[in-house]
């Protein structure tokens, strides 16, 4: 489907040019101040807020005709949310899409960073439900912004300590807070702890968009990103030892655990479906 051939004519990449310009300006500011949440005027889209509208607006603002897009949801190219977003972008831009991480120039993702090492010519766009790591400390925006400005993050450290004192370890699974360039504490969006180290000194640009909360933030390439942890309880990613992908045999990747109710069998599969398909020689675009 070509965007020119739609019955109703949409502007390239759905958003009007003014909106795209504003979002790009917010992105530039976010890149200039790594980890800082830049407010932006989140637009109405044909998908509901909280369904990836932040990431989608970033993608629509930065995408050009030559870009190749990959959209994933929890690692999968085939989930409904990923497919719908991909369809919307192609319908309004006509860009090529792919499931191969290596071929993509823009990857929009919900809750995962791909297994392949991302390159400097790629942009990773992450959808963010809750951008504010201080939200649990205070429900008031004016308070959380003041605390950020004063780099006062005791409340977040206290939350980590609560897990240690109650359960003997930090209890955060996804969205474990990180310190960016020793200045701003940032929610890395609910990626598993397994993916946190990928943000540190990465080659690619990470952009984070929260459409419902109207915030954009960024981790530019080669930025210091340190997961928060106490000295005597060092940060650790999920332990994947002993797990093997049933389909491709991969180890030390992030897995989905699958239960087959007819056989009663438990097994693991790569969460990154593009990575798994490539290993099995089954990869394609359109």
């Amino acid at each position: 489907m070509d965007h020119q051939n739609n019955k109703q004519h949409y502007n390239f990449a759905f958003l009007d040019e003014g909106a795209k310009r504003e979002i790009r300006r917010s992105i530039l500011k976010a890149v200039a101040i790594p980890g800082y949440q830049v407010p932006f005027g989140s637009r109405e889209l044909p998908i509901g807020r909280g369904w990836g509208t932040g990431g989608l607006q970033i993608t629509l603002s930065i995408i050009g005709k030559k870009d190749i897009l990959k959209v994933i949801d929890q690692g999968s190219d085939d989930s409904v949310n990923a497919v719908s977003i991909r369809k919307l972008v192609t319908a309004t831009t006509g860009v090529q899409t792919t499931t191969d991480t290596g071929c993509a120039t823009i990857i929009q993702s919900r809750h995962r960073v791909p297994e392949n090492k991302m390159r400097n010519d790629q942009i990773m766009v992450l959808q963010v439900p809750n951008p504010e790591p201080l939200r649990s400390v205070s429900p008031k925006e004016v308070v959380s912004r003041t605390l950020h400005s004063e780099a006062e993050y005791s409340g977040i450290w206290l939350r980590l300590y609560e897990g240690i004192i109650k359960y003997g370890h930090t209890v955060s699974g996804a969205d474990h807070p990180v310190m960016v360039e020793d200045r701003y504490v940032m929610n890395p969006s609910p990626i598993p702890k397994f993916d946190n180290p990928k943000l540190h000194q990465s080659d690619c640009l990470y952009l984070f968009g929260a459409g419902r909360e109207k915030k954009i933030y960024a981790v530019p390439p080669y930025t210091e990103v340190v997961s928060l942890a106490y000295e005597d309880y060092p940060f650790a990613v999920e332990d994947m030892t002993g797990r093997v992908c049933k389909l491709c045999g991969a180890e030390n990747v992030y897995f989905d655990e699958i239960f087959d109710s007819s056989t009663g069998e438990h097994y693991f599969q790569c969460s990154d479906s593009g990575f798994c398909a490539r290993r099995r020689g089954k990869i394609g675009g359109n």
């Binding site: 005791s154 450290w157 206290l158 609560e162 240690i164 109650k166 106490y230 005597d232």
Partner: protein, 290 residues
């Protein structure tokens, strides 16, 4: 100040170098007008023309090392407002305060950045509120509550924080095996003791206590007061104890100031104030106790 030393008689206080010096502290609700800003007479702390409330009207006091200073006065006299202003809970309208342990007592603590205020709040002061809900996070463990102050002071070692929390909770007789439990499960007296241990976490040099025993039954009151007295003797912390209960003041305070309508109307040794009150209001106050 020679007259201070004179007034204090036999008590050996280092009056040359107060731990805390407060000068002309003003907290006013309302803009003020030509009438009240000139310092003209107010009606119960309220300007008859512009209706501004002068919660604190040029309050000055000194707190010396290791002493307990009592503040008494009726409801609305400005006692709690004074403590909250000193703990940066409440914005002030004017005035100065100096802490000997911060920049050698030469910097007005109301004129410094929020970060520096937070530093003083977390490292130099402790506060125990009348209502534990104000001072504690009821949904965090009691250990976490104590640790909060340590985290704010920059400690990033969970084990050492847990050790400190255990030591302090033990000190205030909260069973250590309840360190994981939230204060919301505790009785009022126990919550108050968790609050005290939290306030002590960073060995503050100044402890502010706002009506800490109000609402506790008599036996628990006595134990909390004993505990505070013991801590003061062991650690030599200077304290300001606010209470409307003269028996608490009599038991705790070395020196006492009496507040009325936002002003200090009388100050001196606690015994002097209770035995030989000079101001009319203090006479009524003391008389109503007897």
């Amino acid at each position: 100040m020679p007259d201070d030393a004179e007034r204090l008689g036999g008590i050996s206080l280092n009056t040359a170098n107060p731990v805390l010096r407060v000068r002309d502290l003003i907290v006013r609700f309302g803009e003020g007008c030509n009438y009240c800003l000139q310092g003209a007479a107010l009606e119960k702390g309220r300007c008859p023309y512009c209706h501004s409330v002068w919660a604190l009207n040029k309050v000055s006091l000194d707190l010396y090392k290791g002493e307990i200073l009592g503040i008494v006065g009726e409801s609305g006299s400005g006692k709690s407002t004074l403590l909250r202003a000193l703990y940066f809970d409440r914005e002030i309208t004017g005035g100065e305060a100096y802490i000997s342990e911060y920049k050698d007592g030469e910097k007005n603590i109301f004129e410094i950045s929020n970060q520096q205020k937070r530093y003083i709040r977390n490292q130099k002061m402790g506060m125990v509120y009348q209502n534990p809900i104000m001072g504690l996070r009821m949904n965090f463990s009691s250990g976490g509550n104590v640790a909060e102050k340590l985290i704010a002071a920059g400690i990033r070692n969970a084990g050492s924080m847990t050790e400190r929390a255990k030591y302090l909770l033990n000190h205030v007789e909260v069973p250590i095996n309840r360190i994981k439990e939230e204060p919301k499960n505790f009785s009022g007296g126990m919550q108050q003791r968790v609050q005290i241990s939290k306030a002590l976490a960073n060995n503050p040099s100044i402890l502010l206590l706002d009506e800490v025993t109000t609402g506790l039954d008599l036996s628990v009151q006595a134990r909390v007061l004993d505990l505070i007295k013991r801590i003061q003797q062991e650690l030599g912390i200077s304290m300001i104890v606010v209470s409307h209960d003269l028996s608490v003041i009599r038991m705790m305070a070395d020196r006492t100031v009496v507040m009325l309508e936002g002003r200090i109307i009388e100050e001196g040794l606690t015994d002097q104030i209770l035995e030989d009150p000079i101001h009319e209001y203090t006479q009524i106050l003391v008389h109503s106790l007897l």
